[in-house]
Symmetry: C2
């Protein structure tokens, strides 16, 4: 691989230019800005590595799909996305979010960390490999969707309609980061999600609050219904919620324990005195990475302006996200939630569901896991931190566990990459290392 | 009184013009529109009845105060207000809210029912009485504040600084209405109020909701805290909340039972199937008029827009109004609320208090009660409905019960007067009857 690494070092300015070009093209799925143009650029950049690409239509933005034939029948697929988060609040950016400005060894752009940098690193890795060795040792597929930042509403549709395109021996997931102490995060799973909005209706209009004496108050009913869902010990009270959870093994807990979570910094950042339930150490990390949640994301009813207004609200709404772990079926939990409310006299509360997603977990003994983990030191000089699961959610399940395909995530971001925030950036050094590491993984997986 | 009534009938067009003039002048306290101009017009109209008026300054809008000397030492005070509610939603008005247009025997204007009509009826009554008899049989005082529609924040300050101006043998309260079956409501009390906003803080900023696993969620803490305040049987769980309530006597309950509450119409209007707790009949009316409440008027936290946003809110707020009844001290209940929250680990929840108001109740055997009730039939051909207390709140306490002054309310509105709503109106017939009745009360109270 020495020759490949040297080729990458010699051509890094070109690879940085490729990245800048992609980052300069806005691609905000939430606002439908630049999606068509971006898919075109991605296809063009895939042509640099002789990939046969196409835009596979879905009910939403098309998936850019590409294949490259290699020397063996082994196939590795790469999942990435060409859409990015909106750039606001724009006034907090130190340079234009789509200028892709380089300062102090970093490139600043919306989407550069999440995840145009990781996508280009993979394309460039293949480019360098081909320049040095010609054909790849394995078949490679790219599945590059355009709706990840709006919850991947049509990725499952794509996968179900094109199982042949999804088929692979292993998958490399979109992204990841390098910790402050320079170690690569290798991700072997994500949490799932059930996101619901509960809506309670009262009178047909807001009414003078003196009538609160005799008319039902939807805000109170929502409070009581919510109180029945989770107690202040953080226990979710929906029957069956915890039943099918696959508990982490000792080996998995050991991996969780090895993860670095700087508790003091995190508390300082958010100006809090303690974590929930006064947790720290392994129990804190276990809760963050391996346990399900039930979080109120938003609640609204009645008058919320300045001062006093005496009104009995006509309606009350809450948004709740359940982060799910391995074994939990979002559809089953939705049914149990319905039953829970019905059983307590809240059968009038409407449940609107958004984006049900299964958790996904890759077997620790899958080949790709060994291939990735064992080769990190060659590029990063230190072993990786292995994330059994992220605390967050992604659509990994519909491309991997659902089809029995192991998936491993790594990328080119870092702890200060400001993902989803102003001044998103990556270090150029990490980008170059990311290209080398992707090449190494392709090479090793072909052995 | 026949001569007085005849004078009123002969001059009713002039009295309507006086009302139109006052209604044409906007006086929206919430927006500080026209307050100075309106106070001036009120003073001018008081000069028609040879009242010595002045504007008594407070920390807010001045109180227009006036006195007229009569033939005895007995003094009757009138409480009114020269401010009105904002007119929005303006698009739902059939004529300009400040045009004071007459259509089908009604005069339409913001504030005509609440309560410029009642104020003018009293001025006109005195005018007619003076024209026929010269001097009044009693001393009369007017206390006309300019902040009733924003919660009378400085009326108590006025009363405490000017006990000599408040002093009276009896008080006539601002307003009231005539029912659909033509009977006058005579009001002998109002509920009090403690309006609070509870504020819970979490992290210093909104955070990705995956952190809901380990960081405190202020929305959840607010839900649990609220749930501890009132259960779904509508029982307020704050210690001591009900302790000092003066329970209604059988006589009072009888008066409540006589009130007409068209349950079917009310449910239809609000598109509801049942009243709270399936109440009807006397228990429903007792709850509405004689029992305290704890009503969520508004609640807000986190993301409340369309669709899904996965955010852990930094803050949660709720507005709660407690309508209080005779015997309940808002300050004591505020202290008990603080203790209730502290005892349950919610000592970090901030309580912001607005407008604490005592309930007020006039003794049934006060002279003015008899004077008013016994003379209703002469004008309205039917006995009144006696409201022991309104379901709503007003600043009656600080001008009456606090000083041992009995207070009785009646006015010129009706059930379709659209108070605080578009197309506010009164019937011209009710205005004329209101003038006659005010004259009759002055005459009888002087006997």
């Amino acid at each position: 691989m020495k020759k490949v690494y040297e080729y990458i070092d010699r051509n890094k300015d070109m690879y940085i230019k490729w990245l800048i070009r992609l980052c300069k093209q806005p691609s905000i799925a939430a606002q439908n800005i630049g999606m068509v143009e971006t898919a075109k650029i991605v296809e063009e950049q895939l042509s640099y590595i002789n990939a046969e690409s196409e835009q596979v239509s879905t009910s939403g933005n098309p998936v850019v799909y590409a294949e490259i034939q290699g020397n063996t029948k082994k196939t590795l697929s790469f999942y990435n996305h060409y859409d990015v988060q909106p750039e606001d609040p724009i006034e907090l950016w130190d340079s234009d979010p789509f200028a892709a400005e380089i300062r102090n060894g970093r490139i600043y752009a919306r989407g550069v960390a999440d995840n145009k940098g990781a996508l280009l690193a993979r394309i460039c890795a293949i480019h360098a490999y081909q320049k040095v060795y010609g054909k790849l040792p394995i078949n490679v597929k790219f599945i590059i969707e355009g709706e990840e930042e709006i919850g991947s509403p049509h990725l499952e549709e794509f996968a179900d309609n094109h199982p042949d395109k999804v088929k692979a021996d292993a998958n490399i997931w979109e992204n990841g980061m390098i910790t402050n102490d320079g170690r690569l995060h290798v991700t072997l799973g994500v949490k799932g999600m059930l996101y619901v909005e509960l809506r309670v209706k009262g009178a047909s209009m807001d009414v003078h609050s003196m009538n609160g004496a005799v008319l039902e108050n939807p805000a109170w009913r929502l409070v009581w219904a919510l109180n029945s869902l989770k107690n202040d010990k953080e226990e979710v009270l929906i029957e069956g919620f915890y039943d099918n959870i696959v508990q982490p093994t000792d080996e998995e807990l050991k991996l969780v324990d090895e993860l670095q979570l700087n508790e003091k910094d995190m508390l300082e950042q958010y100006e809090l005195d303690d974590f929930l339930l006064n947790l720290s150490g392994l129990p804190l990390k276990e809760k963050l990475y391996m346990q399900p949640t039930c979080t109120i994301c938003g609640i609204e009813s009645g008058y919320t302006g300045e001062g006093a207004k005496t009104v009995l609200p006509a309606e009350a709404k809450v948004k709740v996200d359940f982060r799910l772990v391995d074994g939990q079926d979002p559809q089953y939990i939705l049914e149990q939630l319905r039953k829970h409310l019905d059983d307590r006299g809240y059968d009038d509360i409407e449940i609107v569901t958004m984006s049900p997603v299964f958790a996904s977990k890759t077997d620790l003994d899958a080949d790709i896991v060994k291939t990735v983990i064992d080769n990190v030191e060659e590029i990063y000089d230190m072993p990786p931190y292995v994330m059994r699961s992220t605390a967050g959610t992604g659509p990994m399940y519909v491309l991997s566990q659902k089809f029995g395909i192991p998936s491993v995530g790594f990328g080119v971001g870092n702890e200060a990459s400001m993902v989803h925030a102003p001044n998103e950036n990556i270090r150029l050094k990490d980008y170059v290392n990311g290209i080398k590491f992707a090449a190494k993984v392709i090479d090793e997986f072909g052995k």
